[in-house]
């Protein structure tokens, strides 16, 4: 289903939950609404579903305005954060509910249940009640129930929030696979950027009720259009005085400009680990944390504290070690503009070595 939203606004009392939101989603896409809690993501989802009425703005499915259509008539599958399974009904009865309401013939309902139970890997659990299932299984029942009446749009509100970390990972790839196979347009809400990046075709970053940026995860990571997006996606440190770093002296010509530096922009190591030693700064390791698959190194360069990762294959750094720090690039922003600045000294090697 092609979904379009124009000039959407929603207030709860004095609180502007959604502010002038516009977007269009093509058929079969999987979109992630990503943003901090209370940012308006769920409100947008609930308006699409018809559970909330927008104050102003239009919602169009297939180019047809559906604002005045009740949720019952929108043909949407919705997966709630806490699943909202009918707790007095078995798995099979939960899945059948939407079909019975739509007056499907009995044999067809049976067929559809069998199909969905197979699809969601719930075979053998048809007669269980929700309280007899694990979190992951409940989630899949919710998914099967939402898909049963063959909706054209699937909405998922924080679908993995209530599941523990390990199973969450499995479910994510399972969901991705499932949606690819069904080719159903899907929108899911999350505050977990890893989840959005891993699962979504496109991400919409929502903050304070507004869409900050829409694009593929790679586009958003590479080319954040607002400081909020830059700081929200990935990890980062904000540096006030970027001009004091080697290779970024040019930044001084824009007063009031701050920089955002991601760990992956920074390299840290002994002198012999760098080819372009002239582009590096001297620094001192202040903290080292083991992160399971790599070291997280905090390093002090003059007044600036930077954070970076270091491979476990390289020599181990200790707090207090004198090291060299290479900052590859920084994301600069001020009140009216933002851009990416590469380390100048990296490109023009000041001391070319001739052999």
């Amino acid at each position: 289903m092609h979904v379009e939203v124009r000039g959407l606004n929603k207030k709860f009392g004095d609180f502007q939950a959604v502010r002038n939101v516009e977007f269009a989603i093509g058929k079969g896409q999987l979109i992630g609404l990503l943003g901090p809690s209370g940012g308006g993501k769920t409100s947008i989802l609930r308006m699409l579903a018809g559970l909330e009425k927008p104050d102003t703005g239009d919602i169009l499915f297939h180019g047809r305005r559906v604002n005045d259509l009740p949720p019952q008539e929108r043909g949407i599958g919705f997966v709630f954060q806490n699943y909202a399974l009918f707790k007095h009904m078995t798995v099979a009865q939960n899945i059948a509910f939407g079909l019975e309401v739509k007056k499907w013939p009995k044999p067809k309902i049976k067929e559809r249940i069998a199909e969905l139970v197979e699809l969601t890997g719930l075979a053998g659990f048809e007669k269980r009640y929700p309280h007899q299932l694990s979190g992951g299984q409940r989630q899949r029942v919710a998914f099967a129930r939402a898909l049963a009446p063959e909706p054209q749009l699937l909405l998922l509100d924080e679908p993995f929030a209530a599941i523990d970390a390990k199973i969450r990972h499995e479910l994510r790839s399972w969901l991705r696979e499932m949606i690819d196979r069904l080719g159903i347009t899907s929108i899911f809400v999350t505050h977990d950027q890893d989840e959005a990046i891993e699962v979504a075709d496109e991400i919409m970053i929502i903050n304070k009720g507004q869409v900050e940026q829409k694009g593929t995860p790679w586009e958003i990571y590479q080319n954040p259009q607002t400081p909020f997006v830059a700081s929200f996606i990935g990890e980062s440190t904000v540096v006030e005085n970027i001009a004091s770093l080697r290779g970024f002296e040019d930044a001084a010509s824009w007063p009031g400009t701050r920089a955002l530096i991601r760990p992956e922009y920074v390299e840290v190591g002994q002198e012999n680990e760098f080819i372009l030693l002239s582009a590096t700064e001297r620094g001192r390791v202040s903290h080292v944390h083991f992160r399971g698959s790599e070291w997280l190194v905090e390093v002090q360069v003059g007044q600036i504290k930077l954070v970076t990762y270091r491979s476990l294959e390289k020599s181990v750094l200790k707090p207090g070690d004198e090291v060299r720090v290479l900052v590859h690039r920084a994301y600069l922003f001020n009140d009216n503009d933002n851009w990416v600045m590469e380390n100048k000294l990296k490109q023009e090697d000041p001391l070319p070595v001739h052999i």
Binding site: A49, F78, F80
Partner: protein, 264 residues
């Protein structure tokens, strides 16, 4: 020391709860079976028990229906502001705080034969006070909060997401209520109904004020017991009281069973 406390607890329990029931049972039989059956089968007792039964049925039906509806509105309605809901919510408890006698008096003052509204209805041939409608209204007033207070917390606890899920699957209000909401609140409603029946059986003050306790007209089981005691007709009073007590004990046992069903 512990043994002393246990003994004391049992004594209080026996004196306050056990002794009166035993005394009533004993009193009802002090003239043997004939005294007991005479007390129950005299025409005024039959009529009074019928009145009580009629009021129980009417009040339970009305309060069951409107209690569940009001509980739903107070918890779910989006068209009621939170301020209005809070005020309505505290008004629901009014019958708990007001003495039933005063509740009955309010009805007499509002709808009595001397009031404008009362005389208007009287001319139209509708008698409210000193008649069945007034007694029903008085009992409704007294038992009004019981079902609402049972159902509201359950509605709040289950939240509205299951209902929203049902809407999104295509179910409209009525289907959603019967297939999703009702199974969750069913046992709370049963519990509230049992309380309502028990309270209605035993209601005295409000009914006495509104009914005027007219023999063969507006006399209920409780007001008959009162009159019998006044007339030193103790065996008959005990017989009717024993029937009422037996009903209450039966209801209590049923309620315990309902509670265990609700818990599972």
């Amino acid at each position: 020391m512990k043994a002393l406390w246990i003994t004391l607890t049992f004594i209080v329990f026996a004196v306050l709860l056990g002794a009166p029931v035993v005394r009533i049972a004993y009193g009802a039989w002090d003239e043997g079976w004939s005294g007991f059956s005479e007390g129950l089968t005299r025409p005024e007792a039959v009529h009074a028990l019928m009145m009580t039964g009629l009021i129980v049925v009417i009040v339970t039906l009305i309060n069951g229906l409107f209690g569940v509806m009001l509980a739903l509105y107070l918890v779910r309605a989006k068209w009621l502001g939170p301020q209005v809901k809070r005020i309505m919510n505290s008004i629901v408890d009014l019958p708990f705080a007001v003495s039933p006698v005063i509740g009955g008096l309010m009805i007499v003052l509002l709808l009595g034969p001397d009031t404008a509204l009362g005389s208007l209805l009287d001319q139209a041939g509708v008698k409210i006070v000193y008649a069945l409608p007034g007694m029903v209204i008085a009992t409704l007033f007294v038992t009004f909060p019981l079902i609402i207070r049972e159902v509201m917390p359950v509605l709040q606890e289950i939240g509205d997401q299951q209902e929203e899920a049902a809407h999104l699957l295509g179910a409209y209000g009525w289907t959603t209520f019967w297939r999703v909401t009702w199974p969750s609140i069913r046992w709370s409603v049963v519990y509230g109904v049992v309380l309502t029946v028990a309270r209605t059986l035993g209601e005295f003050g409000a009914v006495l004020v509104v009914s005027g306790n007219i023999l063969f007209k507006t006399q209920t089981a409780t007001t008959l017991v009162y009159e019998d005691v006044e007339n030193f007709n103790l065996t008959a009073a005990n017989a009717v009281a024993l029937v009422l007590a037996a009903c209450s004990v039966g209801l209590l046992l049923f309620m315990e069973w309902a509670k265990s069903r609700r818990a599972s």
